[in-house]
């Protein structure tokens, strides 16, 4: 194992909280997002097994009665990170009742664009935000609109869940989610958070959201993604954001493109350390 990976694994094992989770930074309260990424990073490392089990148990304890997961102990609300938990179950090969309820929540959750109020308002003023409201995708939290990042994570989870043959609506949600991502692509070829044009003005894409959009679209051979993949590879060379670079590494690995280890400092950021391991190991590819 390279020094690059060893140092990041050591960081994750050393910064795990007493409750089994991870904060966004060492010593901070546990959150589901860094915990899920840390667990995805650790799940194939035999020497991290005790650490993984403690984190897994905390993650499982945070599932809500409706099948969703809450983002941390302090926040009692369904959250987009449910997708990461479903993916984690699939990576571990656990297809039990909590998994099924998580898939059910994802399949049953969508952004408000499909609602009558939004569609009518969009019909009256289509140039305010250019988008096709007919595509059902995923919000950060229920009751909000759909955005690229939660949609990408939901697609990763459901594409893996289709192998478990659990929910007849999965295929339709995957198809619509992919269409939404393609519809929101910016004029420069990449993606931002999910608005390509506002008030008639083109908005630029970002490296991190371009990475996530491509991650969500991965695994569909019918899509021609050569142009956005070229954008992502350019971003990989140019970005000075360690987080964006780590996400690009994870995403491009899904297209059999291996990024060189980042020369940018991961520092004490749990997400970056975990994502760099995931990118190097291909755990989400």
């Amino acid at each position: 194992m390279s020094d690059f990976l060893t140092s990041r694994l050591d960081f994750l094992r050393a910064t795990q909280n007493a409750d089994g989770g991870w904060g966004f930074f060492p010593g901070k309260q546990s959150w589901l997002e860094p915990t899920a990424y840390a667990l995805i990073a650790l799940h194939t490392d035999p020497s991290s097994r005790p650490s993984f089990e403690r984190g897994w148990n905390l993650m499982r304890s945070w599932q809500m009665p409706d099948g969703s997961w809450k983002p941390c102990a302090a926040v009692q609300e369904p959250h987009w990170t449910t997708a990461l938990c479903v993916t984690l179950h699939e990576l571990r090969g656990v297809y039990d009742q909590p998994f099924q309820r998580g898939v059910g929540w994802l399949v049953g959750t969508s952004g408000i664009e499909n609602g009558l109020r939004f569609r009518f308002a969009h019909f009256l003023r289509p140039s305010v935000v250019e988008l096709d409201p007919s595509f059902k995708a995923w919000p950060w939290r229920p009751g909000n609109a759909s955005w690229i990042e939660p949609t990408a994570h939901a697609l990763v989870a459901l594409k893996k869940a289709r192998n478990a043959g659990t929910n007849p609506r999965i295929e339709e949600r995957i198809r619509m989610g992919e269409k939404m991502i393609l519809d929101r692509r910016c004029g420069d070829g990449g993606w931002n958070y999910g608005n390509r044009k506002v008030l008639g003005t083109d908005l630029p894409s970002y490296p991190e959201t371009t990475a996530l959009a491509l991650l969500g679209l991965a695994g569909n051979p019918a899509l021609n993604l050569a142009a956005p993949l070229a954008v992502a590879q350019r971003y990989l060379r140019e970005t000075r954001s360690p987080l964006a670079k780590a996400l690009l590494g994870v995403s491009l690995r899904s297209y059999s493109i291996t990024a060189a280890p980042s020369e940018l400092l991961a520092g004490k950021d749990t997400l970056i350390n975990a994502l760099e391991i995931i990118g190097a190991s291909g755990a989400l590819a």
Partner: protein, 319 residues
Amino acid sequence: MRRRQFLQAGIAGAGAAQFGCSSQESLAAGPPGQSAVAILKATSYSADLPALLRRGAQLCGLGAKGKRVLLKPNLVEFASNAAINTHVAVIAAAVELFHSLGAAEVLIGEGPGHRRDTIALAEEAEYRRGIAQFDSLFVDLNRDDVSPLRGFADLPEIYLPNTALKADLIVSLAKMKTHHWAGATLSMKNFFGIVPGSVYGWPKNQLHQIGIDRSIAELHRVLPRSFAIVDGIVGMEGNGPIQGDPKSVGVLVMGSDLISVDATCCRIMGIDPERVEYIRITAERGHAHPGRIDQRGESIQSVQTKFALIDALKNVRLA
């Protein structure tokens, strides 16, 4: 529900919550008394900003002895050559100011609405290079520990960063910019960056869903221990808050009544605060009427610089 409100609520989900601004309705008088607002001329970022801020603090009667102070700049995008973010020199001067006023603690916190990598944003904006010990002072409010606060618009609670909730004084270090939905983004709108992305996402779509104006008013209500320093040395006109053009005004505007500060900034920008919805709906809690603002330092007339407005905002132009 009026047609405009219906449209706002409808498309809010995609981040577009406003269509122009308020119809002309008279402002509430607000509480008794007046609010002091200081306008200071600062021709460039190489001016003696610490001295200017000290003068502004004196003019406003600002005290911070023993207080835990959180400085909240407006850090939005990677664009070192655009006037999007609060300039690093203003933040560095504010750190110096509050230390000189005897603050027990001075932290800097921000939670950008679109970008995940806050530290990389700070690097790009030269905050890390321009502010001594930046890494030990800075808190990424998007990823801070959070606690619930009961009641926020129609929500049973809002989750806010503990760093903000524990602060004795939150200083809005805002940028003077037009805003294509809200009319202008100034000290009150700047508080959107306090709402944590870890709960509400990137963008913080729940605030759009509630309505931008109402969310601004609610944040102002739940975060009352505040002070404003608006960086108008170079602001942004046109299609703000991100894609507009730099506009040199050469001012800093300061005060403890954020409504008065924002109303003053609007008048400097050639915007009628009575037509800016969030100022109108918060006016009963502060002073937006010119007669109730104790203008100190420079006069509005001496620094007034008409900002270009997009067509959708032509109705907010000050007559």
